[in-house]
Amino acid sequence: MHAYLKLDHIDKTFTRGNATTEVLKDISLTIAKGEYVSIIGHSGCGKSTLLNIVAGLTGATNGGVLLENREVNSPGPDRAVVFQNHSLLPWLTVYENVKLGVDKVFSSTKSRAERDAWVMHNLNLVQMAHAKDKRPSEISGGMKQRVGIARALAMEPKVLLLDEPFGALDALTRAHLQDSVMALHQKLGNTILMITHDVDEAVLLSDRIVMMTNGPSARIGEVLEVPLARPRKRLELATNPGYLKCRQRVLEFLYERHRFVEAA
């Protein structure tokens, strides 16, 4: 498999005073172009830390991240992040929030009019063009997350990083947004790395599911291929034996072999 994004023997240790905690231990993963990979694990297993390392927001203690065979160790628009709590800037409108990244990334390659059109194109992709002049406080949680996705997509990232993007949403909105992300992935063919703690979400959306053991010193416990044809339909999958088998595998991993143990 051609490695587009490569996580190479990543260790992460946090040091506070004399106490050191090893959060991640020897994480290696290769992701092909256009692949949708989910990382699933119990809370506290360091999956968000891993995503931050890929995004360049946190440095790895050992090992590194390679994107198209080049090491990346600082944040950049080639690895756009959709944050868990949307992180829209409240003093900017929906349009301006997306524009912030676009202006920066395409400052020399696109004219003003082209940048404006590109912002609107991306807002259209997530069906948020109608709210372009609203402020984040005036739209719902699901809409905010849509704008967050548009902001990330508009930077034309090589890899889209989703940090539990649907975690803060209610079940119906979540399902709706998952369908949107699936459609976008289908249409644009982005490479996506997503953090989640939702088994159904992981199986529904991913090509591969990376299951992490519990921290401290979390490792990759198992990688599961999801051999389901795309486009996937939520309702049809509910009775699909392949889907159920995958779901079963992840559940077994999470709840039998690596049950969440309360920190004693």
Binding site: S74, P75, G76, P77, V81, F83, S87, W91, L100, K104
Partner: protein, 302 residues
């Protein structure tokens, strides 16, 4: 569909009552007031709800004051006397007989000018220092203890020192304004900068804003509600300080006007000046609050 009917009716009435003695046009308006008129009525009601209660309280207080101070031998003049004594000052604020014998407008504008200078410098220095202290842990460790001690020094205690340094009343007064209002601006700005959520910093990092863009596009807007809280406290304090400082430095200014009135036993003039000082302090506060609302687009703490 009813609009043409009404129009027809109105013209029908208007034609026979074209003579100037008739009040018919008014009558035709009453059956159905236009929506615009309704809006004005509603707005008027809202204003009345806010304005009438304080007016009633004010009237009662005036009445009380009048009754208490009316007796012969009372030390303070009643409002009626105040008005009679200061009529000239109220109706002619622009006279200028040279020296310090000027109308209240000139005194107030001199004070406001000093505040404008001192406060503007305080705003610029305060936001800059506050940003530094909020952003850099080392700057905070070095400067914060100093600020915490300096800010407790009463404004007027600085005056002799600044007179010694500048050897002139005007810059000394401006310095006192500056040193009084700068602390809340520094401290609030620093808190605002320190409270910028990590998420915003992450967004800036992913978008790769340079330090200058980060300052103008993330830091200042994110901290703006805090900064404006500091600015509001600052303007209040500087208005408090200018009156006291001017009493000591003399010259033209509302503070010295009050002191001069006391020395010449013009108690009514003192009361009038206090009234103006209060109103202007209030207006300054509302000005900054209004500015905050515009700049932060409604996200100010207010």
């Amino acid at each position: 569909m009813t609009m043409p009917a009404i129009k027809a009716e109105a013209t029908a009435v208007a034609i026979p009552t074209a003579s100037p003695t008739s009040a018919a046009p008014v009558v035709t308006m009453t059956p159905r007031p236009a929506p615009r008129a309704e809006k004005y009525v509603k707005m008027g009601k809202e204003i009345a709800v806010r304005v009438v209660p304080p007016l009633i309280v004010l009237a009662l207080l005036m009445l009380f004051w009048e009754l208490v101070c009316r007796r012969t031998g009372s030390t303070l003049p009643p409002p009626s006397r105040v008005f009679k004594d200061t009529k000239e000052l109220i109706f002619d604020p622009f006279f200028d007989n040279g020296g310090i014998d000027k109308g209240l407008f000139w005194h107030l504008s001199a004070s406001l000018q000093r505040v404008a200078y001192g406060y503007s410098i305080a705003a610029i220095v305060g936001i800059a220092l506050g940003t530094l202290v909020g952003q850099s842990v080392w700057a905070m460790r070095g400067l914060d203890p100093l600020f915490q001690v300096l800010r407790t020094i009463p404004p007027l205690a600085w005056l002799p020192l600044s007179l010694a340094a500048f050897r002139d009343g005007q810059p000394s007064a401006i310095f006192v304004i500056f040193i009084t209002s700068v602390w809340p601006i520094i401290i609030n700005t620093a808190v605002g900068i320190r409270n910028i959520p990590q998420d915003y910093r992450n967004v800036a990092a992913v978008v790769q804003l340079n330090p200058l863009e980060f300052f103008s596009k993330i830091m200042i807007p994110a901290a703006a509600p805090y900064i404006f809280t500091g600015l509001r406290i600052g303007i209040g304090l500087s208005w408090l300080a200018i009156v006291a400082a001017e009493m000591l430095i003399g010259g033209v200014g509302i503070g010295f006007f009050i002191w001069d009135a006391w020395n010449s036993s013009h108690i009514s003039e003192i009361i009038l000046a206090l009234f103006y000082v209060g109103i202007i302090g209030f207006v300054l506060d509302r000005l900054i609050a209004g500015l905050a609302k515009v700049v932060t687009r409604g996200t100010a703490l207010n």
